[in-house]
Amino acid sequence: MSSTLAPRRAARTDPGPHGRRAPRRERLVGRLATLGPGIGYLTVFMLVPLALVLSYTLFHRGRFGGVVHEASTENFTRVADGLYLGVIWTSVKLAGLTTLLALLLGYPTAYLIARLPRSWRTVALVLVVLPFWTNFLIRTYAWIILLNSEGVLNRALTGVGVIDRPLELLYTPGAVVGGLLYAYLPLMVLPLYSAIERLDPQLREASANLGARPARTFWSVTLPLTLPGVLTGCVFVFVPSLGNFVIPELLGGGRTVMVGNLIRDQFLKARDWPFGSTLALTVIALLVLLLMVQAWAARRLAGGNRA
């Protein structure tokens, strides 16, 4: 027995020159096989277009559209113009408001789901993501039917007699925020749920045992320990809200212009690709900055929260 076991054990602890090289090569092949397609896809469909966008920012629009390859900084001075900065600021405000509302609505929702019996949690989570199974455009059109002056909401309110004349609900910043909130709320609920669900229930019990009322336990224990989830949820909602142009178009009626609309118009209507690229780059830079802040904050929190 020992004579057959011994060489095998030796091979594991001290592999010969072949024994060592073969697994490493295998590992490399394995890595390429699993990572390769992803890296290839990202290179062709993300890095290359991004590099194009980046290069366009230095050129300017030809007389009949197209790109004139003459370097200039003209695009950047245009972005700094009050008009465009104003649109970017409006977009940040609307996306920020959407994120805040999503947090206020999403946290209690996620909290309740996390405290449901296990079998019901799955049902609740499926319900949260259920809207994703319907086309995004159709869901947004549904909001038009709800909100317009002859819409369901106005007719219900006039019918009950709360108001005399239909309210102007559609084509307002409020409608845009409502639409964004509706579209991205699940992206807030899911990371929050996972953060709350992972929280050791004994920490809440310990807090109560030490004399804390439920509200105190929430503010001092539950909320601080789920902040990483809050940060993730906020980024998940803020990022797509900032760049969205379909919802401002359909529910804002062109009266509430967000930076996404502006970029789309530069590319498709004004056919000023270099300036559109510059606007896009500005938004990307803004979001990268935001993600860096989030990563930094998350790392700081994680450092303190390790059990």
């Binding site: 045992n209 004399g211 804390a212 105190r216 601080p224 320990l225 059990a307």
Partner: protein, 352 residues
């Protein structure tokens, strides 16, 4: 505190029951825990001891029965208002707070002045030997240090009753022995009534003034460690606490008759002749190499340093008889020997 004297009942648990679905976690449990004592709830996992602890802390409610503390109904009090603190098995330290903030948390809830909180935190840090670690976070501490923080956080509130859930189970053996002494010293020093839940009988024996042995949701016996060890009330306790030789037979006037073995020495119990019973005799009570008694063959010798455990095969018994002798054994594997014990060293138990 002066109106509460040691020995008076502090907690009275009267016939409480708790079920989880079909599982009976607690069945008609009644216990008295005395003022100032170190009480242990001992039993295998699933015996209901943790449920009982959680009822005292207020995280669970019994389906029936009552619990009073200082004569007042404890079950009507919300968990955060009970003068009862719990040291969790996992310690449940707040990971985002420093050691000092963890300990101060309970005092802040009492809205004490800052200066008093600081004083009491410093004081308790000295008591548990953690001075200088006040600003650390829990993840920067060793297991033993975390355990001390958890203990400090619970005793700083000066509760009427301190509950400890498997307090030493997460520590390695050496730290455990150290903390065992420490816990005893602390309990003496702070004068708080301790209730410790454990599945480790040695822990219970070495720590507690009195032990309640539980199994399948019922209390089997409540006693001090020595009587519990020497006079187990039933078969479960005899088997669970320490090592025991258990032999079934029928009681006669001269001893326990065991088929194919013979008559074994056992104490005389009135009105038991003819009754089927189980004899329990501790390995250290059995004499090896005696003149009389039973003949057997040494099957196994295990040397523990201070003592040696010898297993002797006796014809007619389905399990080898265990004998503990001081120092090294004079017998070797395969030796023929005899085993014997005095009738007063054995205990007779019902077979149920």
């Amino acid at each position: 505190m002066s109106d509460h004297h040691a020995g008076e009942p502090l907690v009275s648990i009267r016939s409480i029951s708790r079920r989880f679905g079909d599982v009976r976690a607690l069945e008609q449990v009644s216990l008295e825990i005395r003022q100032g004592e170190f009480f242990a709830l001992l039993g295998p996992s699933g015996c209901g001891k943790t449920t009982l602890l959680r009822i005292l802390a207020g995280f669970e409610h019994p389906d029936s029965g009552s619990v009073t503390l200082d004569g007042a109904d404890l079950l009507a009090v919300a968990p955060h208002r009970r003068p009862v603190n719990l040291m969790f098995q996992s310690y449940a330290l707040f990971p985002h707070m420093s050691v000092a903030r963890n300990i101060a948390y309970g005092l802040e809830r009492e809205r004490l002045p800052r200066s008093e909180i600081r004083e009491r935190v410093d004081e308790v840090l000295t008591t548990v030997g953690l001075t200088g670690l006040a600003r650390r976070r829990p993840h920067q501490l060793s297991g033993g240090q975390r355990q001390r923080v958890a203990l400090a956080r619970a005793i700083v509130k000066r509760p009427r009753l301190l509950l400890l859930d498997e307090p030493l189970s997460a520590l390695d053996k050496k730290v455990r022995a150290e903390m065992q002494l420490e816990l005893k010293r602390l309990q003496h020093e702070v004068g708080i009534t301790f209730v410790v839940v454990t599945h480790d009988q040695e822990e219970a024996m070495s720590l507690a003034d009195r032990i309640a042995v539980m199994s399948e949701g019922r209390v089997r016996q409540v006693d001090a460690p020595v009587p519990l060890y020497e006079r187990p009330a039933d078969l479960f306790v005899a088997d669970f606490i320490g090592a025991n030789n258990l032999i079934s037979g029928v009681v006669t006037a001269d001893g326990l008759r065991v088929p194919d073995v013979g008559l074994l020495p056992c104490p005389a119990v009135p009105d038991t002749v003819g009754v089927a019973a189980t004899l329990a005799v501790r390995p250290e009570r059995v004499r090896l190499g005696a003149d009389g008694g039973l003949a057997g063959v040494v099957r196994d010798v295990t040397f523990f340093g201070g003592t040696t455990r010898v297993a002797v095969d006796v014809a007619g018994l389905d399990r080898p008889l265990l004998v503990t002798v001081a120092g090294a054994a004079a017998v070797g594997l395969g030796d023929k020997t005899r085993v014997d014990w005095s009738d007063t060293d054995a205990v007779l138990l019902d077979q149920t």
